[in-house]
């Protein structure tokens, strides 16, 4: 059963087409990695899934709910989808505890105790329980991103979207974030991840999507994507040779 279904999605900024007829799906429990050169539209595509980016043509369904339908209650739908951003986007004026509980209380209507319990549970899971009283600015980038993951998980999402979660991190902090993501994948979380971390893709992805100039060029099983390089498109091979060189 498809958790996320993207059907013939196109998007324009004025005359400029940023997404061209994109079609793919993410099944329940599946981990799909989206890669491609910068400007290929991968971040835009993942943001259309929870309607942070509108699109003009095509359809997207999340758990059967149409994202593009004007009648859809978007806040309600978004509350069910976790999202992790490149620049963490913790709320800097709120403590870590408040970051973890504010949406649980204000959006899901949980009471304070319940929200605290859930928030602390996930903060503990990402190994940062000792930092509960601090503010985001007092944490390293890697720690902030782990809090951001905990914030999303505390909402009990049906799927998680990751938009280049490690691109803004110093190299030594990349692994602490990837470790959390690998653990999540092993637990069966449905995940769509825009990332250049091919090690992560090899380890946990079921499928890899390669995008270029707004279009999905490759969409295949991980084994096929990495195992049979010669069968890949010219552009995908070029991209892979560049990022796998070192």
């Amino acid at each position: 059963m498809s958790m996320i279904e993207i059907k013939n999605v196109s998007k324009w900024y004025g005359d400029f087409q940023v997404l061209t007829d994109c079609t793919t799906n993410v099944k329940k429990g599946e981990v799909v990695v989206v890669c491609g050169p910068s400007g290929s539209g991968k971040s835009t595509l993942i943001k259309t899934v929870n309607a942070l980016e509108p699109f003009q043509k095509g359809e997207i369904f999340v758990d059967g709910v149409s994202v593009g339908d004007p009648k859809t209650d978007l806040p309600k739908l978004r509350a069910r989808i976790g999202m992790v951003f490149q620049n963490f986007e913790l709320f800097p004026h709120l403590s870590i505890t408040e970051n973890l509980t504010i949406a649980q209380q204000r959006v899901l209507g949980r009471n304070r105790d319940e929200a605290m319990q859930k928030g602390m549970h996930y903060l503990d899971r990402v190994g940062l329980k000792a930092h509960a009283g601090k503010f985001p600015g007092q944490l390293s980038g890697g720690q902030q991103q782990r809090v951001a993951i905990a914030r999303a998980l505390a909402m009990d999402p049906i799927a998680m979207l990751f938009d280049e979660p490690t691109s803004a991190l110093d190299p030594e902090m990349v692994n602490e974030v990837l470790d959390v993501m690998v653990e999540l994948a092993h637990e069966g979380m449905t995940m769509m991840c825009v990332t250049h971390e091919m090690g992560f893709a090899r380890k946990v992805a079921n499928r890899v999507i390669f995008m270029d100039r707004g279009a999905i060029v490759e969409d295949c099983e991980k084994e096929e994507f990495f195992g049979n390089i010669d069968a890949r498109s010219e552009r995908a091979r070029q991209f892979l040779s560049k990022i796998l060189q070192h």
């Binding site: 978004r78 509350a79 069910r80 951003f85 986007e89 913790l90 709320f91 999303a152």
Partner: protein, 221 residues
């Protein structure tokens, strides 16, 4: 120069200062509230709403405050008369307050707008992503951060307004300046009382302004 009558006159001058401060506090609160609404309207994707807000701001920033004060003194009772159908005495204080709120809102709007725009788009996306509505995202995430950033500018504007409250003399309100002038005339020490009033305005405005500068430095770190 003979300042001997100032000390005995302090109670009546203080009455004037109380009116000045009352007017200031209410005008700032109302001005920031209306200014925030205008800023949100101006940034709205609804072209009519943002056009109206823009016209409002441009209009009030292009006319003298004294004109607004005198005009509202005449207009507010008339408008209320239209609405309620009966004659309501509003009084100079209320009409001045309305004038200040509406005038200052245009200035506060631009400060608030700049404050909101200084918050990265990622923050609103993050607020939406956890399921917040537009109003929740604004109230809980964007405005608290924006207000923190624009506190120095809001305070500077408030200091300007503190001085501008003296314009209420035009409709006969006894604020601090008007009290000093009236008292000076009675005591036959007009110059001395005006010099004293000027010193008070200077100490309060300059003192507050220096505090704001220090605050600005601390916030910048």
């Amino acid at each position: 120069m003979d300042f001997s009558q100032i000390i005995p006159s302090l109670p009546s001058l203080w009455d004037g200062m109380k009116l000045t401060l009352q007017l200031l506090v209410l005008a700032v609160a109302g001005g920031i509230a209306l200014g925030t609404v205008l800023a949100l309207a101006r940034m709205s994707s609804n072209a009519m709403l943002s056009g109206l807000a823009k016209a409002y701001v441009n209009y009030f920033r292009s006319i003298p405050l004294l004109l607004v004060i005198t005009w509202f003194y005449l207009a507010v009772p008339m408008i209320l008369n239209w609405i309620t159908g009966e004659f309501v005495a509003v009084g100079a204080f209320t009409s001045c307050l309305v004038a200040f709120v509406m005038f200052e809102a245009a200035y506060y709007c631009e400060i608030v707008r700049a404050g909101i725009q200084s918050i990265s788009k990622g923050q609103i996306n993050a607020a939406y992503a956890v399921g917040m509505t537009y109003s929740q995202a604004m109230r809980l995430i964007i405005l608290p951060q924006a207000f923190r950033k624009m506190t120095p500018l809001l305070l500077q504007q408030t200091i300007i307004l503190f001085q501008d409250t003296s314009l209420v003399y035009a409709v006969g309100l006894i604020d601090f300046l008007n009290a000093a002038r009236a008292r000076g005339d009675i005591m036959g020490q007009s110059h001395e009382f005006l010099i004293f009033a000027g010193a008070v305005y200077f100490v309060i405005s300059f003192g507050a302004s220096s505090l704001v500068k220090r605050l600005q430095k601390r916030l910048a770190v």
